[in-house]
Symmetry: D2
Subunit: 370 residues, 4 copies
C-alpha cells in the first residue's frame, strides 16, 4: 500500500523497534511521537516487527491517542524481531535456511513512505543495520535500547536500570534462602559479551562474588572466598554471574567440566557449571537460579522512563536539524549525538578499572581474579 | 549444655524450622514466641537448623527482643535443613553416604530442655518426622509451612500466597516479551508433586496454558491451542508449567524427547522440553524461564503474615490445652487441629474438579488435556 | 440508539461497574465476559460510568478482544460513578442541587437492550440500588467489589487483599522512618464505617496500635502503650488508624480537640488529631501519613485476580440458572448466592471477637480500649 | 566515657547521620565502614542520633558484623535527629524553648574519641553544621543524603532515585482511579524549596501538570489545560505538585483561598488548595493524595545502593588523603570533592531551562506558567 501524499503537507517520520524486548521502548516511542505531533505537527508512522515490517511493508499510522497512556507499559506496541537483517534476510527453502540481500526492497519501501527520517530504536544489532541503511541513503536516527548497556557512544542505555532493578530484587530474595539454608546461591543474569547487569545488580544486592565476561575467573579464588566467609561464621555466599562469564582458559575449560559432570542434563549454563564445581570443592550445598527473560519485561523504572523521554525528544530535535546517521546518547549526563558508525564498531564492555568495580573491591567483593 | 532448671518456674517451649525456605516462617516464629512470652509467661528456645540442631543440641533462647521486628523478614532466623531426619540421619563414612537412626539422641536432647512442647514449623517432610517423634513420646505441635500448599489437613499453608504472588509478577513481566516478540513463553514454577503454584499463578496472570502434575498433558492439545490463538491474531502464548508436570505416558516420553534433542545440555527440565517440542511442532519461537528459588525468598505478603500470625498464636493456645500430636490448619477460614498422622499420609494434590480449574477452563484456559 | 434484535439469536447480558475504583474490577469484567462469550455464546454489552450510563443509555459491545489483556489492569474499562442513583438522581437547577427519580427511564433503557441479566459490579451503594431495580423487575446479579470488605453476605470482597497489600507496604516503609527518628508514626487508611483494612494491614505490618471504628479508643490507653514501649527501649511506635475510628465520646470529642488545636488547618482527619494529641501527652515527635486513594489503584494482587475470576464465572452460571436478585459471595472458601436484600441491609463491620483481633491482641497489639 | 587509646594503633573514624530519614543511609554507612575496616584497618565508631549523640557522647563501635547485611535496609542503624544543632541546641526551660551554643562540648567530645575524621551523612542542614565544625577545627567529610536532591555541588544525592521511584509508583496507581472516575487527581510530594521529586516523578509517571516551587503557577493556566484535555476526550488529569509550589502572588494568595474556603479544616496543604480551586473552576471532581513520608522509607533502589557505595568508599579515600572540609559529590557521573562551604550556601533549585523540564514541555506537560 502506498499512501497518497500529493495532498499532504505534513512532514512524516517513521519509527521501528528491533532486537530484544526491553523496558522503556514504549516510553521512547511516546516521546518521539508526542513531540513530533505536538511541537512539529509531523505525521508519525509505526513500522511493525522491526526490519521485518520494512521488508514486508507492514506499518500503521501512530496518532496521538495511540501513544498516549503507553509510558508505563513494558514491551513494544510496534512488535519487534531479532532475525530480520535486510542485508541477510533469512529464508527457509526446502527446509534449509538461506540468506538473501533484501536491502533494496527495504529501502524502496521506506522511500515509498516519503519519510524525512526513520527512527530506529534498538541495540547494536539493530543500529549496525541502521548504519548500513544510512550509508545506502536512508535518513536515520538511532536510539539506544538494550538492557545490557553494552552500546558504544553512550554511558547508559534505557532498559538497563530496569533490568538491574529486577535482578537486584531477585538477588535480595535469594539472600534469605542462602542465609536460612547456609548455601552458596548462584544467580545467573543476562550479559553475553558485557557484564554490566551482573556488575551493577551484584553491587546493588551485595553479592559476595561477581563474575563478568571481562574478568576471567579462577574457580579456586572463588572457593577460597566462600571458605573464608564460612570461617568467619558467614555460612552462605551469593555469586552473581553474567551468562557470558568464563574461567581462565575459556570455553574449553567449561566444556571439559560439562563432559565430566555426573549430571550433564542440568548444565544449562555457566551458573550450573559453577554450582557443581563450588559444591564439589567446598562441600557446601549450592543452588543456581537463572533470571533470564525476567529482566526484560514489565514496566520501566522511573529512571528509564525519564531517560527514554529525554532521548526520544532529542531525536526529534535532530530530525529538525537534519542530523542523520547518528544515535542519540547520554554522556556525562548530557545528551549527545554519536555517529552510528561508532556504535556499529562493536559492544562496549566493562573497563577493568571501572569505578563501580573499584568501589566493589574495596568493600570486599570478589571478582574471581585475585 | 544443660540448663539448670531446678530454680526455674517458667514453662518452656522449643521451636524449630525444617525443610525449604519459605516466606512467613519468621512471622510464625514471632507469633508463637510473642504470645508465649506475653500471654503465658513462657520461656522460648529456638533450635537451630531444624532437626540438625536437635541431634547436635544447638539452640538459643529467644527473648522478646529477638522476635521483635522479624515479621517482615524472609527466611528463618533459626536456620533450617532439608536432610536431617533423626530416624535416618545421613553420615559420610569414607566418602560414602550412610544413614543412622539417631532418634534416641534427638529425643534425649529434647527431654534435657525440659520443654512442654516442641513446635515444628515445616512441610510434609518435617511434619512426618514430627509425627514419629510424637509417637515416640515427644509433645509436638506442627505448623504448616510450604510454598507448595501440598499439605493435607489444611486448605492453605503460609508461604503459598507469597510464592503465587512472586510467580504472578514474573509471568506478568514475561507477558510483555511474549507479545512484543510473538513468542510462546514457557514459565516453569516449583511444584514436583502438586500443581498448586502453577494453577494459581497461571490463573492470576492469565496464562493461556497451565500444566500441572495432576493432569497429564497431550503435546498436540497444547500446540493446537497455540495455533488456534495464532489464527485469531493472538501471536503469542504463555504456558505456565509446574516442574512436576508430565505428558501422557509419563517420564519415559520425556526421556525419549531429551534423547532425541539436538541440544540435550539445555534440557534442564520440563520447561525446556516443552519449549523444544512446541517450537518444533508450531514453528513459533519459544523461550523458557525457570523461576525456581525466586519463589521462596523475600518478605511475605500481607496475606501470609496474617495467616502465620493466626496459626502461630493458635499453636500456643493448643500448648495450653496440651493438645499434642496435631498440626494447626486452616479449613474453610477457621483454625483447626489436624492429627499429624493425617498430615503424614502424603501430599495434597489438586483435585481435578477444583473450582479454580473449573473457573479457568470456563474463561478459555487450556490444561493440555482436552 | 436501539439495536435491532429481530435477526439476532444470541442471548445478551449487560455489565456495569459502580462506586469507587477498586483493583480487580477489570478481572471480574473479563471473567464474566469471557465465560459468557466462550461457553455460552452470549453477547455482552458494557454500560459506561455506572448507573449514569443506564440513565443516559451509554454503552458499548464488549467483544472478546475488548476483555482480553485486561486482567492485570487497575481501574475499570467501563468507567464508574458514585453519584448516579436512578432513584435519586442529582441534577443542578439554577446552581442548586436537586434529586429526581429517574428509575423508570433507567429501567426502560435496560429493557430496550433486551438483556437477560444486568450484572452490577459494586459495593453496598451500587448493590442496594441493584436490589431496588431487581424489585422493580430487572433481572440482576451483583458482584462484591470494595476495598473496604464491608459487604454483608460474603467473607471477602475483591479489592480488599490488594488494598491491604498496598497499605502494608506503606506501613513497612513508614517503619524505617519511625525507628530512625524515634517517632510515633500514624498511618491513616480508608475505612469509614468498618475497620477491615486497618485491622488487616495493621496486623500484617506489625502495627503497635490499631484503631478501628468498631472499637472506640481511649487516648490515654494509646499514650500509655507508647510510653510503655519507650521504657522498654522501643523508642518508636506505629499507629494504624481507620479514617472512621473514633474516641470514646465520639465526634464531639474530636470536634473539641480540633477547636482547641493550635494548628487547625492541618487537622485533616483523625490521623492528624491523634498525632497532635499523642505529641502533646507523650512529648514524643509524631508524624501522620494518610494513604487515601493510594489503596484503590493499580494492578490487583494474585489473590484478588483469582477471586475475581471465580466470582465472575459463577455469575454466568447463575445467569444460566436464572438465579436473579442475588450477589455472588464467598463463604468459608465456597461460592454462594446471597440475596441482594441481605446485602442492602447495611455494612458488615468487624465483630469484636474476630479471630484476627484476638490473634493481634495475643501478640501485644493495642486496640486503644484496654 | 573515654576510650583508652594509649595501646591502640589503629586509626579511628566516626560516622553520624543527621536530618530526615532517607533510603540508602545504611548503604553508605556500610560502604564507609567496610572499606575503612577491610582496606585501611581502621576502627569505626558510630555516633547515635546525629549531633545529639555528639553533644551527649552517645556512640558505639561499628564492627564488620554490624555493617554486614544492612545494604538493603531502609532508615539508619545509627538513628538521626533533625533538631540538634550544636551551635543552637534547643533546650526546654520551664516549658519554654531556648537555644544554647553547645559546640564546644560537641568538639570536645569528638576530640576525646581521637578520630582522624568525622564522616557526616546528611542534607544541607547537617552539612552546614558540618561546615562550621570544620571551620572550628574538626576534620570532616560530608556525604550527600537527601531525597530532595537539593544539595549544591552534586548532580544527585542518594535517596532521590528511591523517592522518585516510590512517588512514580504511587502516581501510576492514582492514574487508574483518575481514568475510571474521570477525575482530576492531585498528588502532592515532598519538596519545600526545590521541585526535583515532583519534576522527576511527574515526568516518569506522565503527569499532565507538574507544579514546582521554581515556577509560580497560574491557576487559570492549569484549569485551561484540564478543560482542553476534557474536550479531547481525556476526561481525567493528573496534577503532580511539590509541597512548596506556589501560585503567582505567593503565600498571600494561598492564605486568601484558604480563608474563603468552605472547608478550611481539609486544607492541609497546597494539594488540597489546588483540588478545591480546580473543582470550583472546572466543575470536575477532584481528589488529593499527599504522599508525604511514604517517600522516605524502605529499601533503596539499586541505583541508590550503587551511588551510596561509590560515595561512601570515595570518602575513605579522601580520609586517607586528609582532604577534609569537603562533601563527596557526583558531577557528570564522576566522583568529586566539593567544599562544604559551597554546599552550605543554600539549596540547589531546579533551573528553569533544565533538560527534563524542556523534554516534558515538548511532550505536552504543563507547568502552570504558559
Amino acid at each position: 500500500m502506498r499512501i497518497n501524499r500529493t495532498r499532504l503537507k505534513r512532514e512524516r517520520i517513521a519509527i521501528l523497534t528491533g532486537g530484544g524486548d526491553c523496558p522503556g521502548i514504549n516510553a521512547v516511542i511516546r516521546a518521539v511521537a508526542k513531540k513530533a505531533i505536538i511541537e512539529k505537527d509531523m505525521e508519525v508512522i509505526g513500522i511493525e516487527d522491526g526490519y521485518h515490517g520494512v521488508i514486508n511493508n507492514q506499518y500503521r499510522i501512530l496518532h496521538y491517542e495511540d501513544v498516549s497512556g503507553i509510558l508505563t507499559l513494558g514491551g513494544t506496541i510496534l512488535g519487534t524481531s531479532k532475525t530480520a537483517n535486510p542485508y541477510r534476510y533469512p529464508l527457509k527453502k526446502r527446509g534449509k535456511l538461506e540468506f538473501q540481500d533484501r536491502s533494496k526492497i527495504a529501502i524502496q519501501n521506506i522511500n515509498k513512505h516519503d519519510v524525512s527520517c526513520l527512527v530506529c530504536i534498538g541495540g547494536d544489532g539493530t543500529l549496525s543495520i541502521a548504519h548500513r541503511l544510512f550509508e545506502d541513503g536512508v535518513p536515520i536516527i538511532g536510539l539506544p535500547k538494550t538492557i545490557d548497556n553494552d552500546l558504544r557512544g553512550t554511558d547508559i542505555t534505557f532498559g538497563f536500570d530496569s533490568a538491574v532493578s529486577i535482578a537486584t530484587e531477585g538477588i535480595d530474595r535469594i539472600h534469605t534462602t542462602a542465609q536460612s539454608h547456609h548455601r552458596v546461591m548462584i544467580v545467573e543474569v543476562m550479559g553475553h559479551r558485557a557484564g554490566w547487569v551482573a556488575l551493577y545488580s551484584g553491587v546493588a544486592a551485595g553479592g559476595d562474588i561477581i563474575l563478568i565476561p571481562e574478568i576471567p575467573y579462577d574457580i579456586n579464588v572463588i572457593t577460597e572466598k566462600v571458605n573464608e566467609r564460612n570461617k568467619k561464621g558467614k555460612r552462605f555466599s551469593i555469586v552473581v554471574v553474567a551468562e557470558g562469564a568464563k574461567p581462565k582458559g575459556g570455553d574449553m575449560v567449561i566444556q571439559r567440566i560439562v563432559k565430566e559432570s555426573s549430571d550433564p542434563i542440568r548444565l544449562g549454563g555457566i551458573g550450573f557449571v559453577l554450582g557443581e564445581q563450588i559444591e564439589k570443592i567446598t562441600g557446601l550445598e549450592t543452588r543456581t537460579v537463572v533470571m533470564g527473560h525476567l529482566l526484560r519485561g514489565g514496566s520501566p523504572t522511573s529512571f528509564d522512563r525519564i531517560l527514554a523521554t529525554r532521548l526520544g525528544t532529542k531525536a526529534v530535535d535532530m530530525i529538525g536539524n537534519k542530523e542523520f546517521g547518528y544515535m542519540v546518547g547520554m554522556k556525562k549526563n548530557s545528551l549527545v549525538a554519536v555517529l552510528l558508525k561508532e556504535v556499529a564498531r562493536g559492544p562496549k564492555t566493562v573497563p577493568l578499572n571501572h569505578p563501580v568495580i573499584k568501589a566493589a573491591r574495596s568493600v570486599g567483593t570478589c571478582f574471581g581474579d585475585d
